[in-house]
């Protein structure tokens, strides 16, 4: 729904208080727009020496050698996108199912405390997720989940190769845990906001509760639910410490989900404090710039998908 021009006209003509309010509202949004633009400009300036030195090949080169100042970002771009994809696939499935349960199935005495607990997951600091990942999840991946997956799906390259415990899949799972609360909390609110009429109409037509939730309520809420996933994905792309602790930090592209990998944010967190040469620092800032652009691209793609969903709905 777009804001009609009549609203703007009102803001322009009424009392000074209204004008003041309009200034605050416009000012706030312009401030944030400027912040993003400023961030972009600063990143470009900071990475300029690296952009000049390495050119566009920075994006598709796979070496990362601070000693010889030979830098390429491809393994980190790959790691960032892959871990976030794994995370969003897992988190969307679990998170949306949990939201459906909380909105339509859970009795009140269970629903309230349960959603509180799920939202509490968002308050756990990421370093705690990271330590838990390193000391509990990674060994469990190596001894139990990994071998089980390999036993069943070992013929797929994705699940081949040695299992280190740390790696792409472990990083993705940690991220999934961290973003589930975002998916669940927003999706639940969206599902609850779907009018009762829809549910009653569906029931009246003879649907079961289950059919109503999955075939009627969820599709009606799909734009909002999709938005929740996009927000969660944004968090996954930029998450740093927890992933750093379980990803294995190896700048390499491997077909296997069990192999160690590296993300853009992790490299920056690992190496920025000790990066002494200016070209090294600049290359790290360029990784930040790429992360910025990847996040933008993902968000733009998601927007586009929301628009196309809406278009087909003829709202």
């Amino acid at each position: 729904m777009t804001v009609g021009p009549q609203f703007r006209r009102v803001a322009r003509f009424v009392s000074p208080a209204d004008r003041g309010f309009a200034a605050v509202v416009y000012g706030g949004s312009i401030l944030f727009a400027l912040l993003i633009i400023g961030l972009f400009v600063e990143l470009v300036l900071g990475s300029w020496p690296s952009i000049i030195a390495f050119g566009p090949s920075f994006i598709w080169k796979s070496s990362w050698d601070p000693i010889t100042s030979n830098f390429g970002a491809l393994p980190m771009i790959f790691g960032t996108v892959m871990t976030s994809l794994i995370a969003i696939v897992l988190a969307a499935f679990i998170g949306i199912m949990a939201a459906v349960f909380l909105a339509d199935f859970a009795p009140q005495w269970l629903g309230q405390p349960l959603s509180f607990l799920i939202e509490l997951l968002a308050a756990v600091p990421s370093v705690v997720y990271g330590l838990w990942g390193l000391f509990v999840l990674a060994p469990f991946m190596r001894t139990t989940i990994g071998p089980a997956l390999q036993h069943v799906l070992g013929w797929v390259p994705l699940f081949s190769g040695p299992i280190y415990g740390v790696g792409l899949l472990t990083g993705g799972i940690i991220l999934a845990l961290m973003i589930v609360p975002t998916v669940t909390a927003i999706s639940r609110d969206v599902l609850v906001a779907i009018p009762r009429d829809l549910r009653e109409a569906s029931m009246a037509l003879g649907s079961t509760k289950w059919e109503t939730a999955i075939r009627v309520v969820l599709p009606a809420a799909r734009v909002g639910v999709f938005g929740a996933c996009v927000l969660a994905l944004g968090r996954a792309l930029g998450e740093t410490i927890a992933v750093t602790m379980v990803i294995g930090n190896r700048p390499e592209i491997s077909a296997s989900l069990f192999a160690p990998s590296y993300t853009l944010a992790s490299v920056i967190a690992n190496e920025f404090t000790e990066a002494t040469t200016s070209i090294y620092t600049s290359a790290l800032i360029e990784l930040g710039l790429i992360l910025f652009l990847v996040s933008m691209a993902v968000n733009a793609l998601a927007r586009f998908m929301i628009w196309s969903v809406r278009g087909s709905e003829r709202v």
């Binding site: 000391f135 930090n249 690992n270």
Partner: protein
């Protein structure tokens, strides 16, 4: 309005009164190496107990950050695991004095289920493991050194620090000294491109230690203090003199004592030829301006205490290695050049 103003003035006065004793004391600030942090916090606490008018606030932000803060004159002193090089010194706004302040070693921790004996490794074998040329624990070259030990047929998982660190610098410096191939293919640095195919990077000392502990077949280099405090199993290495040595304060100290002429431009003590010296050892450094802008007297007093016998005594209690006596004297001599 007036009442609230009055209340405001009153509370300001209270705050000022509370702040007065603190204002009489001098606060020195330092920033840098996280390796030094446990030693510094202990030593500066003790110093403050003896000299209540001087407090030292040390921020463990990493050596690179420490040098940057020091160069910008935001702190009174910096601390770094690798001395400032010519380029960094040129960027500093004045002549810099660099003092060795503590010693550390990197122990080779490993995880071999079912092996209780301490394993032995030569320098060449360790280099080949990190180069990815020895891939299994039961490789003939390792078995030859460990007769009677039932080495498992298990892949070696090489663990290294993923964050830039002085420990990595000392370790890669050691590998460059003992292996020409390492020197030409990889080199020496706080972050390098690790060549072994089964290498995994872990963040921080505790990350490497945790990764080794939880991964059968893993090997990794871990700061000595951490290994001692956590009772981890670590390999015995053969040093340049052919002796088998463990990573202990004594062996690290012996490696340092054999090179009293250590300076900021000639600081490497890895692969020491001392009979009892541990081969993966190194200094950490404090950097100060020859002509500090302020608080020079206090800075001089704190640092000369720190590199002297009394300050160094505190290293032992946190499992760090005190500077050998001859190095303490050299550091004190360097510090005396400071204009105070």
């Amino acid at each position: 309005m007036i009442r609230s103003l009055r209340r405001c003035c009153f509370s300001l006065a209270v705050v000022a009164a509370m702040a007065l004793p603190a204002a009489a004391a001098t606060q020195l600030t330092g920033a840098g190496s996280s390796f030094d942090y446990p030693f510094f916090s202990k030593a500066f606490y003790i110093y403050n107990q003896k000299n209540p008018d001087i407090t030292v606030n040390y921020q463990s932000i990493g050596s690179g950050g420490g040098i940057a803060q020091f160069t910008a004159r935001n702190v009174d002193f910096g601390a770094t695991d690798v001395p400032m090089n010519a380029g960094e010194l040129a960027r500093a706004p004045g002549p810099v004095l660099q003092l060795p302040v503590t010693l550390g070693g990197a122990a080779i921790a490993y995880n071999l289920p079912g092996v209780s004996a301490t394993i032995r490794l030569t320098r060449a074998v360790l280099a080949d493991v990190y180069l990815g040329k020895i891939l299994k624990w039961n490789d003939a070259q390792i078995a030859k050194l460990n007769k009677g030990v039932n080495l498992p047929d298990m892949a070696i998982i090489v663990v290294h620090r993923s964050d830039g660190s002085g420990t990595s610098y000392i370790f890669t410096d050691f590998l460059s000294h003992v292996s020409g191939e390492w020197k030409s293919k990889v080199g020496t640095g706080k972050s390098v491109s690790w060549p072994a195919p089964s290498s995994v990077g872990a963040k921080g000392t505790e990350g490497v230690a945790g990764q080794v502990k939880s991964t059968p077949g893993a090997i990794g280099y871990v700061e000595m203090a951490y290994v001692v405090e956590n009772h981890m199993q670590a390999a015995t290495l053969q040093n340049k003199a052919g002796k088998w040595v463990d990573c202990t304060p004594e062996t690290v100290g012996a490696a340092a004592a054999s090179k009293p002429e250590v300076s900021a431009t000639n600081f490497s003590i890895v692969d020491s030829s001392a009979a009892g010296g541990y081969p993966i050892s190194g200094y950490s450094w404090v950097v100060v301006y020859k002509k500090p802008e302020a608080r020079a007297r206090e800075l001089f007093n704190v640092l000369s205490w720190l590199v002297g016998p009394q300050g160094q005594e505190n290293a032992k209690s946190v499992d760090y290695v005190p500077l050998p006596r001859n190095v303490q004297d050299a550091a004190a001599a360097t510090l005396r050049q400071m204009q105070r």
